[in-house]
Symmetry: C2
Subunit: 161 residues, 2 copies
Amino acid sequence: MADLNNLISPFFLNEKEIRKVLELFFFSYRDFTSGPDKILEKLKFGRAHHRVIYFVGKKNNITIKELLIVLKITKQSLSRVLNQLVEEGYIIVSSGLDKRTKSLSLTEKGGKLELELSTIQVKKIKKVLNNFSEENINGFKKILYEMIDINNKKIFEQLND
Amino acid sequence: MADLNNLISPFFLNEKEIRKVLELFFFSYRDFTSGPDKILEKLKFGRAHHRVIYFVGKKNNITIKELLIVLKITKQSLSRVLNQLVEEGYIIVSSGLDKRTKSLSLTEKGGKLELELSTIQVKKIKKVLNNFSEENINGFKKILYEMIDINNKKIFEQLND
DNA sequence: TATTTAGGTCAGCCATATTGACTTAATTAT
DNA sequence: ATAATTAAGTCAATATGGCTGACCTAAATA
C-alpha cells in the first residue's frame, strides 16, 4: 500500500531527502564534537569531562542534582568524572544554603579550559553561520529546538533564563 | 582587549547566542538518537549496530573498507558488531568482483529492522520540518552540511550519488 | 616476483555508561 | 519530636564501543 504521507509531501520532505537530513545530522554532529577531543586527550579527559565543565561554566553554583538532570546520566557516572575535575583543580565544590546540596563552580584553571574548548566550537559555528541570513539562522535554531523532547525543552530554557 | 569579532557581529551571532546553538545541537542530537535505542535494547544491540545497518541499507553491496571510511572506526571495532549482525541474520556477506573484497547487504530481516529504526527518526524529522518553510528547511540542511569537515563532505556526497 | 591491498583475528586496554544495594546527613512533613 | 524524604556518596558488577599492536591470509598490482 502506498504511503499517504509521501503522496502529500512536497519534494523537499520526501523520504530520500529526510534521510539526507539524518545523515547530515550524524556527520555534522560528529565533526562538531571532534575539535575539543584533541585538547581533552592531552589532559587525559574525555567528552564527559567537557560536558561537565561546559554546564558548570554555564550555570555557576549548579548543584549535583541539577547537573544530573541536564546531563541525563547516573550519579555514579558523574561521580568519576567530577571527582577527577575537582582533584585536578578545574572545579571547586562548596556547600549550598541547603547543606545537603553542593555548589559547583569553575576555578580559574577550569574557566580557562572551558573557554579554550568552547572557543573551538563557537568559532566553527560562527564561521559557518556568517554565510547565512538572519532568517536562515533563526530557522536553524528553531528547527533544532523543535527536535528536542518536550521535557528537555524546559531544561534548555532554564539554562538560559 | 575587546574581541573585534564580537564588535562586528550582529546580535544573532554574539557569543551568548552561539553558545545557545551549541546547547541546541547537544540536546537535539541526544533526543534524536534516543528513539531507536529502545528497540535496539530489546535485541541487545547498540547504536553501533544501528549505524552499520543504516549504511549497509543505504549503499547496497558496500565493502568493509567503504563502511570503515564512513563510520570512521577501526576494523576491530566494526568486526565485533558486524559479526553479530551476520550471525543473527541481519546482514549477508558475499564476495565482490575483486575477490579480496566483501560485499555487504541487508537480508529481509535486516531490511525490516532498518526500516523500523529509521522510521522513528524520519517521522520525527518530518513532523518538525512540516512546520517550516522550504527556505528554512533548505537553510537548515545547508548549515548542517557546512558544519561537516571538508573531507567528510565528499563522503556524504558519495553516499548520495 | 615483490609489494600492496582487503580483510580477519587475538589480546589487552580505556572511557563511559548502566543497575543495584546501601550509607550519611540534612531538611520537611506529620 | 519523630518519621519521611531528599541530596549526595560509595561499592561492586556489567555492558558497550571505542582504541593500539601484532600478526596472518589471499588476491591484485607494480
